[in-house]
């Protein structure tokens, strides 16, 4: 792409030079880093010395610029690099930032802003008020398109192995929109109830608020929205999709991975048949996790989410060959058979009756085959979750004594800490550093176990210290039932001949597409990863559905990326940003007392009340700003919002460049003695200009601490300018005049207020400026000649200024006001130098772009073809900026014409 001129910056200087050059017939590209052109002027209330409305003057120029036939405007874009080529033209690299909104579809209607669930400081209103993450930058924005502020992916959503947008549903619960929260969860995972009970919640571990009082109880919030939805909707509200693909997919195994894959494949219009070997669907959810953790009604309702799409689940139907399924006419297969087998210890007596694998025990107990263990003593061997669940279940079946034998110590137990704690509370005994060496029986029945003590030796490959037997430490323990829970093994035996497997029996698959060694056969869940967590299996089911769908369409699956996310937010950065957050204690899900809960198979945990859920959701810090709740996507009538859009880099070639990158405002926090940022009623002049502007944030002039209309306002001139302690000796040229302007506007807006301006000099040098100053005096503005040394806050929010009374009685004086406005100076923006090779674009000693012949050749820089317009070269007021922009445009036109005639 090629243009005659690149203008860097869409403020008044940039727009003016672009319009001049466009009118002359040159093709101009105007690049602006904000989401709208207009620069600083569009933020102002009125201008000096005429008190014309700033918007009324700027907006026609903004419209003219954006509609000019010869000007292309690129907003939300930044020039990164400019290189002069041998032929005299310039190679430009720029970054187009995305708003996540398709600009040709967006009409700027603002519906997305009304639906958005996240609030963020409004930079257009100098952070005085909040706006939403999805927003129109300001009412007169050109172009008027929505912007979705996304700083990154929030840690909770990023951490979730299934990609569930936790931040999104938390933001919706916070806003009281529970049904939308449920719908959002269903976009990523259909087994909402099961996850709300049994997920190990890695999101909570990642939650940034963990660095304050404690992480959000995200799983508790999920449980609230799931229970609420299921109470109101006993059946799913949808049926199968209308458009069918004509393809058939077989899913083997109805555990979390299989059910999830079936759900997403059916949604995409494929016919899905699930084959389940057991008498009921659910896999590990039904047969592994005990009902006191995951009640059966919740699981059954989750499964309805899948079957409502006309997914057929064939029960009591084991599958032993995937090839046969393909031969039967299925176009693809998803294998999710899980880890139904229990690993064996390999010690003598293991096949005695009364020694069971943990899965066999759990299935028997969960189906009622083992109804009671009254009076029996039970030993569970192992230290993972697969040991804790059988132990706690045995207790509820009435066992007289339940002991866990673990060969390492408690710290090394892989089970979740809270589960071990719960088990011990309920009365399960734990014998650390012991392991069985033999099972003793009579007539084939177990009678006792011979166990041995262990001590911890050197760490092994997993990093844990190896247990080493202690010789001579054996003892014999009488026992009725032993449950071996040392690990689970994949149920992939029947497929070993058809598919490539790993040494431990898990299936070998392509890491991203999940395709096995047999084309058209995909696999996921524990059968691939080994024993893992439900949410991981769900994530794999969703991933597999994505790739299977594309495989069925004949797409090249290697080119596709599933679930591309923005980079995760840096927690330290978020905590820094949210320093002002009010401290609130976290709510935790209540549990029944141990004695009560082992009375039977009763649900242990209780959910949040509505108040608790919303209060907990209100603790969210909105790490990534946008929560990905997709409320805006649903609200947009034009379907313009697209979260998959990304920033783009572009290269283009231009004949000349005008740098019009403007100035920076002095950040008054740097002047510590004035209290800006500490005292709420010390504001800066930009904030006051916003308060006075027609597009103001409040309906009146009020002060931040208590909303009182001020009646005694002080202006402190030269804040950040003419100040060697802040390394800026320059006068900012416009502050005296803008302070006089604001003072006059305040006299109009708040007629009863007194305004006092504390000055060193009043610089009113231009045409009409002295008259403007006299006008302010005549309106009753008071002037005190004296530099303000310090500002201190009083109890009621008022402020006391200490100043040198130069023209009065002399000496140090003090005065109290209820609002102080700091007339902040304008500083150089040193960015332009970074667009070129180091040192290539000469800057002057004050960090402005240097004009080698400032008086005779304004607008020229040291690089031929690179020009500068406006405050990028030095502070100036609005009329002088327009003048300078005209000069730069003339210089550029002459340069381009010369270049053309030379060719």
């Amino acid at each position: 792409m090629s243009y005659d001129v690149l203008v860097v910056g869409g403020g008044i200087a940039g727009m003016e030079s672009a319009l001049n050059l466009g009118d002359m017939g040159f093709k101009v590209l105007l690049v602006e880093k904000e989401a709208s052109i207009g620069g600083k002027m569009i933020l102002l209330s009125k201008v000096f010395p005429t008190l014309d409305c700033a918007s009324c003057i700027s907006t026609p120029k903004m419209a003219a610029t954006s509609h000019h036939p010869n000007i292309t405007t690129m907003v939300h874009s930044e020039v990164e690099n400019i290189v002069r080529r041998e032929d005299g033209r310039f190679q430009v690299r720029l970054q187009k930032h995305t708003n996540y909104v398709n600009p040709s579809a967006c009409t700027g209607c603002g519906e997305c802003e009304l639906a958005c669930t996240v609030a963020s400081p409004d930079e257009f209103n100098a952070d005085l008020v909040l706006r939403r993450a999805a927003h129109i930058p300001f009412p007169q924005a050109v172009p008027k398109k929505a912007v979705i502020e996304r700083a990154g992916t929030s840690p909770c959503s990023f951490e979730c192995p299934a990609g569930v947008k936790a931040h999104g549903y938390i933001a919706l619960v916070r806003a009281g929109r529970y049904e939308e929260a449920f719908a959002l969860h269903m976009e990523d995972a259909p087994l909402v109830g099961s996850l709300s009970r049994a997920c190990y919640a890695p999101c909570e571990g990642a939650c940034t608020r963990g660095g304050l009082e404690g992480p959000l109880s995200i799983r508790g919030i999920k449980r609230f929205l799931a229970d609420r939805y299921y109470a109101a909707h006993s059946e799913p509200e949808y049926g199968p999709p209308e458009r069918r693909s004509g393809k058939r997919v077989a899913v083997v195994g109805s555990g979390p991975a299989g059910l999830t894959a079936a759900y997403f494949l059916a949604q995409l219009g494929h016919e899905v048949v699930v084959f389940e070997a057991a008498p009921q669907a659910g896999g590990m959810l039904r047969y592994g996790i005990p009902a006191y953790r995951l009640p059966r009604e919740v699981l059954d309702r989750d499964i309805k989410n899948v079957t409502a799409l006309s997914v057929s689940i064939q029960l009591n139907h084991p599958v032993t060959s995937v090839r046969s399924l393909l031969e039967q006419g299925f176009d693809a297969v998803f294998l999710s058979v899980g880890t139904r087998e229990s690993q064996k210890l390999g010690v003598p007596g293991e096949d005695l009756e009364g020694v069971m694998g943990c899965m066999d025990f759990l299935v028997a107990a969960n189906t009622g085959a083992i109804a009671s263990l009254a009076g029996k003593s039970v030993i569970v061997v192992g230290g993972g979750n697969s040991a804790i669940d059988p132990a706690r279940l045995a207790l509820r079946l009435g066992a007289a004594k339940v002991t866990i034998l673990y060969r390492r110590s408690r710290q090394e137990m892989p089970a979740h800490d809270w589960e071990v704690k719960a088990a011990l509370e309920e009365g399960v005994q734990l014998q650390e550093l012991r392991t069985p060496v033999e099972f003793l029986g009579e007539d084939g029945h177990l009678k006792a176990v011979k166990a041995q003590a262990m001590r911890l030796g050197e760490p092994d490959s997993s990093g844990r210290r190896r247990p080493v037997p202690v010789p001579g430490s054996e003892n014999v323990i009488p026992v009725d039932l032993v449950i071996i829970s040392i690990g689970l093994a994949p149920s992939t035996g029947p497929f070993a001949g058809e598919l490539a497997c790993n040494k431990n029996g898990t299936l070998r698959v392509n890491a991203s597409t999940l395709e096995t060694s047999l084309p058209g056969v995909f696999a996921g869940g524990d059968a691939v990863t080994g024993p893992s967590m439900i949410v991981q299996a769900i994530g794999e089911g969703h991933r597999a559905a994505f790739y299977i769908d594309h495989y069925l369409r004949g797409d090249d699956v290697t080119k596709l990326v599933f679930n591309d996310r923005l980079p995760v937010m840096d927690k330290a950065e978020v905590l820094q940003r949210e320093q002002g957050a009010t401290r609130r204690e976290r709510s935790v899900l209540r549990e029944l007392p141990p004695a009560e809960r082992i009375q039977g198979i009763i649900e242990v945990e209780q959910g949040f009340t509505e108040e608790e859920a919303r209060a907990e959701a209100a603790r969210c810090l909105d790490c990534g700003v946008c929560s990905e709740c997709h409320a805006c996507v649903r609200a947009c009538p034009a379907g313009a919002i697209d979260f998959s859009l990304r920033d783009q880099q572009m290269e283009l070639d231009v004949g000349a460049v005008i740098v019009a990158s403007g100035f920076r405002l002095f950040n008054a926090r740097a002047k510590k003695s004035y209290g800006y940022g500490r005292y709420p009623n010390v504001i800066d002049a930009m904030q006051m200009d916003r308060i006075l502007a027609p597009t103001r944030p409040y309906n009146a002039v009020i002060r931040p601490s208590d909303g009182k209309v001020p009646d005694n306002i002080a202006y402190v001139l030269c804040t950040g300018s003419r100040d060697c302690t802040l390394d800026n000796r320059l006068c900012s040229r416009v502050c005296c005049m803008y302070s006089l302007k604001q003072a006059q506007l305040i006299m109009g807006a708040v007629p009863l207020a007194d305004v006092t301006i504390y000055y060193i000099d009043i610089r009113a040098f231009g045409k009409g400026y002295e008259e403007f100053f006299q006008q302010a005096r005549d309106m009753g503005v008071m002037f005190v000649k004296g530099k303000v040394a310090e500002i201190q806050e009083e109890e009621n929010g008022n402020l006391t200024l200490t100043y040198e009374d130069i023209e009065g009685g002399g000496g140090r004086q003090r005065a109290t006001h209820d609002l102080v406005v700091l007339s902040v100076g304008l500083l150089a923006n040193p960015e332009p130098a970074n667009l070129f090779a180091p040192g290539q674009l000469e800057m002057d000693p004050y960090s402005y772009v240097r004009e080698p012949e400032e008086d005779l050749d304004p607008g020229r820089t040291n690089i031929p073809g690179i020009f500068v317009a406006g405050t990028a070269a030095g502070i100036r007021d609005i009329p002088d900026t327009i003048l300078h922009a005209g000069a730069a445009a003339a210089q550029t036109a002459a340069y381009l014409q010369q270049a053309r005639s030379l060719r």
Binding site: P60, A63, A64, H67, H68, P69, N70, T72
Partner: protein
Amino acid sequence: MPAVHSDDSGPRILVFSTNSISDPGIDLVGSAHMHYSPRVVTIPVPCSSGIRPSWILHAIEAGFDGVFIAADGTDCAYVSDCTTRTGKVVAQSQKLLQEHGHDPRRLKMAAICSVCAESFVSHIDRLGEDLKRLEVRKERQEEGKP
């Protein structure tokens, strides 16, 4: 991007707009500093269904290359079937143009709402392009070329 309209060539187009709806839309084009040919002139009327076919014929015979009727679609507060009514006017006018040896494609109609500034510019630009092609074709016909 539309071409720069700065010269005296290009088709002359007469636009009939409606006082309440399409004329404000056309006026917005100017307020928003959008560009269209200066050889386009607009006559606002109270209702586009009141345009007489004889006016269209008169416009073409008086020297306008094309006529555009900016009707109201469903926006008008008084009648909701503007498109049908104005459509009848267009049909009659095109028949009249043909009877007098003029190409009926010189008349176009579209619904322009009170904020349809961009839409108006795009319709007029397209009509301008079509009219230019008609001129070229007429010249070729007169020269005996296919």
